[in-house]
C-alpha cells in the first residue's frame, strides 16, 4: 500500500509531467487559456492515462518488443475515442472549445511516455497508481497555468470577474503568454527544488 501511495504522489510534484518532466507541452500551451478548458483537458488525459496504463500493464508480456509502439498507440487511441465520443455526447461546448486537442491526446507524450517508461515494466496496481498520479499532476499543472493566464488575460477565473476595473493583459491569452507563464512557473519549480536540495 505504501508503495502505491508513493507511485501516486510522485506524479504530483516530484515528477510532475509538466513542470519536471516537461512533457505534453502542446496541449498545455493550447488549452490553458481558461480554467474550464484545463479541467476538461486534465480529466480527459487522466482517463486516457489510467485506461492505457491498465491495459498495457495487463498485456505487457504478450506484446512483441519490436512492435510495441504501434500496439500502445492502438490501445491509447481506443481510450481517446471513448472519451471523445463521451465528450461530444455530454459536453459538446467543452468539446468545441478543446477542438483538435482531444484527438491529439493520442500522441500526447505523457501518455506514450508512461506506457513506454512505466506500464510496460510494472504490474497492474503500480501502473494504475502511476497513471492516476501522472494524470492528476498534469491536471493540477494545467489548472495552475490556466488560472494565471485566465486571471491576467481576461481578469476572470472560471468566467467570474474578480477585480473590477482591472485592464486585462491580452498577451496572456495568446500563445506567447502561455510560453511566458510556463517558463516562469518552470523556473519557480526549479528554484524551489534547488532550495530544498
Amino acid at each position: 500500500m505504501k508503495n502505491s501511495v508513493k507511485e501516486f504522489t510522485k506524479g504530483l510534484i516530484r515528477e510532475n509531467p509538466t513542470f519536471v518532466l516537461v512533457l505534453g507541452l502542446c496541449p498545455t500551451l493550447a488549452v490553458s487559456v481558461s480554467v474550464a478548458n484545463a479541467i476538461g483537458m486534465g480529466i480527459a488525459a487522466t482517463f486516457v492515462l489510467l485506461g492505457s496504463s491498465l491495459i498495457i500493464s495487463l498485456v505487457r508480456n504478450l506484446i512483441p518488443d519490436k512492435i510495441r509502439i504501434p500496439c500502445y498507440i492502438v490501445i491509447i487511441a481506443t481510450f481517446v475515442t471513448i472519451i471523445e465520443l463521451c465528450m461530444k455526447a455530454y459536453s459538446p461546448a467543452l468539446n468545441r472549445s478543446l477542438g483538435i486537442y482531444v484527438p491529439l491526446i493520442v500522441v500526447n507524450c505523457i501518455v506514450l511516455g508512461r506506457a513506454e517508461a512505466f506500464a510496460c515494466k510494472n504490474n497492474l496496481g503500480r501502473s494504475f497508481f502511476d497513471g492516476l498520479g501522472m494524470g492528476v499532476g498534469f491536471t493540477l499543472a494545467l489548472i495552475l497555468i490556466s488560472a494565471v493566464r485566465e486571471f491576467l488575460g481576461s481578469g476572470q477565473i472560471l468566467g467570474v470577474t474578480l477585480i473590477k476595473g482591472f485592464e486585462p493583459i491580452f498577451v496572456f491569452g495568446m500563445p506567447s503568454g502561455a510560453l511566458l507563464v510556463i517558463g516562469l512557473l518552470l523556473g519557480l519549480f526549479n528554484l524551489l527544488k534547488d532550495k530544498k536540495a
Binding site: I169, F170, M174
Partner: protein, 313 residues
C-alpha cells in the same frame, strides 16, 4: 581614432570607460530627444518618462535585494531601459502603462536572464512589445504635436498604411518632429544630436545604424510604391522609430553581434525586416519587431563571424 574604440572580439586593451560611465553617457545623449518630446507633446511626455524610469529602477532594486546580488541601480542601465521604453510610448498613455511596461522590461527582459550582460533581447523593446500586444488601444492612440488638449492624430506611417494622403507633412516637419508619434521618436534632429555624442565618444560604431538605415531606405525605395523604384525613401527614414531604433536600440552592447562583420549583417537584417513589415506587414511600424528578431539571431551571427585567431588558418 574610431578604429580603436569599436567593440570587437577579444583581445581587449584596458581603458577607463566603464559600464556605468558608458551607460550614463547614453542617458545624457537621450536628453535632447526627451526635451524635444516635452516641447512637442507637453508635460505628459515628462511624466510618462519619469514613471517608466522610476519603475525600472525600483524593479532593479527589488531584484537586487531578492536575489542578494550587487545592487545595480547606479550603473545607469535601468535608467536607459526606462527612458527608451517611455520613448516608445505615446504621451497620452495612462501612467500605469509605462510602470507595468518598465517592470516587465527589467524583470522579464533582463533580470530573469541574469541581469545586465545576460539578456538576449533589448529590455526596453521587450517591454514595448509586451505593452503593444496587451493594450493596443492605448499604444496606438497618438496626439498631434502642440495640441496639449489631446487631439488624437495618427502617425505618418499609420496614415500611409491606411492609404491616406500625406501631402500636408513636409520632410522638414518630419525632421523636426511636428507630427504625431511616440515621445522619443519624433524629433530626428534631437536624436541625431544624441547619436553624434555617442559616435564621437566612440561608444557606438557606425556599422549597425548606417547599414540599418541604408537597407531600409533602399528596400522601401524599390518596393515602397506601386511600381518599382518609386518609394519615398526619405519619408521612410524620417518617420516612425527608425532613427531612434537604429542609433539607440539596435546598438545595445549585449544583444548585438561583437564583430564588425556581424554588426553589418545585423544592420542589414534589421533594415530588411523593418522594410518588409512596413510595406507588407500588418503593423504600420516594424522597428521594434525587426530589432528583437535580429537580437534572437545574434548568437548565430556571432558564431559565423568569429574573428580569425592570429596564427591559425
Amino acid at each position: 581614432m574610431m578604429n580603436n574604440l569599436i567593440v570587437s572580439g577579444s583581445p581587449h586593451i584596458h581603458k577607463p570607460a566603464s559600464v556605468s560611465r558608458i551607460m550614463w553617457t547614453v542617458v545624457i545623449s537621450l536628453i535632447p530627444a526627451l526635451i524635444a518630446g516635452i516641447i512637442i507633446f507637453g508635460l505628459d511626455a515628462l511624466w510618462v518618462t519619469l514613471a517608466a524610469t522610476c519603475a525600472a529602477l525600483l524593479t532593479e532594486l527589488c531584484f537586487g535585494i531578492f536575489t542578494k546580488k550587487k545592487i545595480t541601480i547606479l550603473d545607469g542601465s535601468a535608467v536607459i531601459t526606462g527612458i527608451l521604453l517611455a520613448f516608445n510610448l505615446p504621451s497620452t498613455v495612462p501612467l500605469w502603462l509605462p510602470v507595468v511596461g518598465a517592470i516587465f522590461s527589467i524583470a522579464i527582459g533582463k533580470q530573469i536572464f541574469g541581469g545586465l550582460g545576460q539578456n538576449i533581447f533589448n529590455p526596453a523593446l521587450v517591454g514595448r512589445v509586451f505593452l503593444m500586444a496587451s493594450w493596443p488601444k492605448y499604444m496606438t492612440t497618438f496626439t498631434g504635436p502642440f495640441s496639449y488638449d489631446a487631439v488624437t492624430s495618427a502617425t505618418p506611417l499609420a496614415m500611409l498604411k491606411e492609404g491616406r494622403v500625406l501631402d500636408h507633412i513636409s520632410y522638414w516637419d518630419l525632421f523636426l518632429g511636428k507630427h504625431g508619434g511616440c515621445i522619443g521618436e519624433v524629433c530626428i534632429l534631437a536624436l541625431l544630436i544624441g547619436a553624434a555624442i555617442l559616435l564621437i565618444k566612440g561608444y557606438i560604431s557606425w556599422h549597425i545604424p548606417a547599414t540599418y538605415i541604408f537597407t531600409t531606405a533602399v528596400f522601401t525605395y524599390i518596393f515602397g510604391a506601386e511600381k518599382f523604384f518609386g518609394g519615398d525613401w526619405l519619408f521612410q527614414i524620417l518617420s516612425g522609430g527608425l532613427i531612434l531604433g537604429a542609433f539607440f536600440m539596435a546598438t545595445d552592447y549585449v544583444a548585438t553581434p561583437l564583430t564588425a562583420r556581424g554588426q553589418l549583417i545585423f544592420g542589414i537584417g534589421c533594415g530588411l525586416l523593418t522594410a518588409v513589415i512596413r510595406i507588407w506587414g500588418g503593423y504600420p511600424e516594424g522597428v521594434s519587431y525587426a530589432i528583437l528578431m535580429m537580437n534572437a539571431a545574434t548568437p548565430l551571427i556571432d558564431r559565423f563571424t568569429k574573428n580569425r585567431i592570429y596564427g591559425v588558418k
